[in-house]
């Protein structure tokens, strides 16, 4: 069968769907942000599979790295807030 070359793409697609699902439906915010960063990293791999190395670089540096740092800083501030007022 000719499905074998598609195996990495299928695996990557399932991993992308899984991380996106966990990022959007996990109860706690911090694990959700961690899953979102993982989603960004996997998406960078997907860009490489689509022969777009420039987009992969931008996604890894901005989409996963900087957005992750922004989100984690925001979650840390929100958490400090929530512990104040249970």
């Amino acid at each position: 069968m000719t499905l074998l070359p598609l195996a990495p793409d299928v695996l990557l697609g399932v991993a992308l769907l899984f991380t996106a699902w966990r990022a959007l439906y996990t109860q706690a915010l911090f694990p959700a942000v961690v899953f979102f960063v993982a989603f960004g990293m996997l998406l960078a791999l997907a860009w490489m599979r689509l022969q777009a190395p420039d987009v992969a670089l931008a996604e890894a540096a901005i989409g996963a790295g900087l957005t992750g740092a922004l989100l984690m800083a925001a979650v840390a501030r929100l958490r400090g807030r929530d512990e104040d007022r249970p």
Binding site: L57, G65, L70
Partner: protein, 222 residues
């Protein structure tokens, strides 16, 4: 009722996904062969990497307005009333400080390399600027925030530098009898490198300022 509504929503969105999937997998009628057009015009663009040629030359207008969007986002963030400074942040560990001192020079070097590599291979101002911003954020997290007061005093000049240089080049090409941002092919390579260099600096400064958020620069001012 609520269970019914959520089931209906899920069903509706599953239907939407199916329709979208059917749409994107339909064969499209071939239009103009854009990759071939870009490859044909690559000789006059000043760079040999097609993505950089599109970003900085063929569609330079998009990139200029994108830098303006970054500035508008920064203005929006800086307009908000300042938050109270974060309390109870963990002290910086020795491992993080040592790692930062090892990584910071490498990150800056790779950022400059990405800018230079953008002319011939994957890379460019946005990737390099993001990496430089990451270096700045790493320095912040590792407690090396001495560069912040410098940033505070020159935030807007530094953030506007990329747009200013881009606009100056656009005005120059317009005044030289060409069209707006129609870079002359003899100097296109140099012009693109100059635009990208200043854009990289502005992107990095803007992203670090966006990370700091509302008015934290003043709070950290020694």
């Amino acid at each position: 009722m609520k269970a019914f509504a959520s089931a209906a929503l899920a069903l509706l969105l599953a239907g939407l996904a199916a329709v979208l999937a059917w749409t994107v997998t339909r064969p499209v009628t071939p239009g103009r062969d854009v990759p071939a057009l870009i490859a044909g015009a690559l000789d006059v663009s000043g760079v040999s990497h097609p993505v950089t040629a599109v970003l900085l030359n063929f569609r330079g207008y998009d990139t200029l307005l994108e830098l303006v969007v970054l500035l508008i986002a920064l203005a929006g963030v800086r307009c908000l009333a300042p938050l109270p400074p974060p309390r109870g942040s963990a002290p910086v560990g020795g491992v993080l400080r040592e790692l930062a001192s090892l990584l910071l020079p490498v990150l800056v070097l790779v950022a400059v390399y990405l800018l230079w590599a953008g002319a011939t291979r994957p890379g460019g101002a946005f990737q390099g600027g993001a990496l430089l911003a990451a270096a700045g954020i790493l320095a912040l997290l590792a407690g090396r925030d001495r560069f912040l007061w410098r940033l505070e005093h020159r935030l807007w000049p530094l953030a506007c530098l990329g747009v200013a240089v881009f606009l100056a080049v656009a005005a120059g090409t317009l005044a030289a009898g060409g069209v707006l941002l129609g870079l002359p092919s003899a100097h296109a390579g140099t012009l693109i490198l100059v635009i990208e260099g200043f854009a990289l600096l502005s992107i990095a400064v803007t992203l670090v300022a966006l990370f700091l958020g509302t008015g934290e620069l003043e709070d950290r001012d020694p």
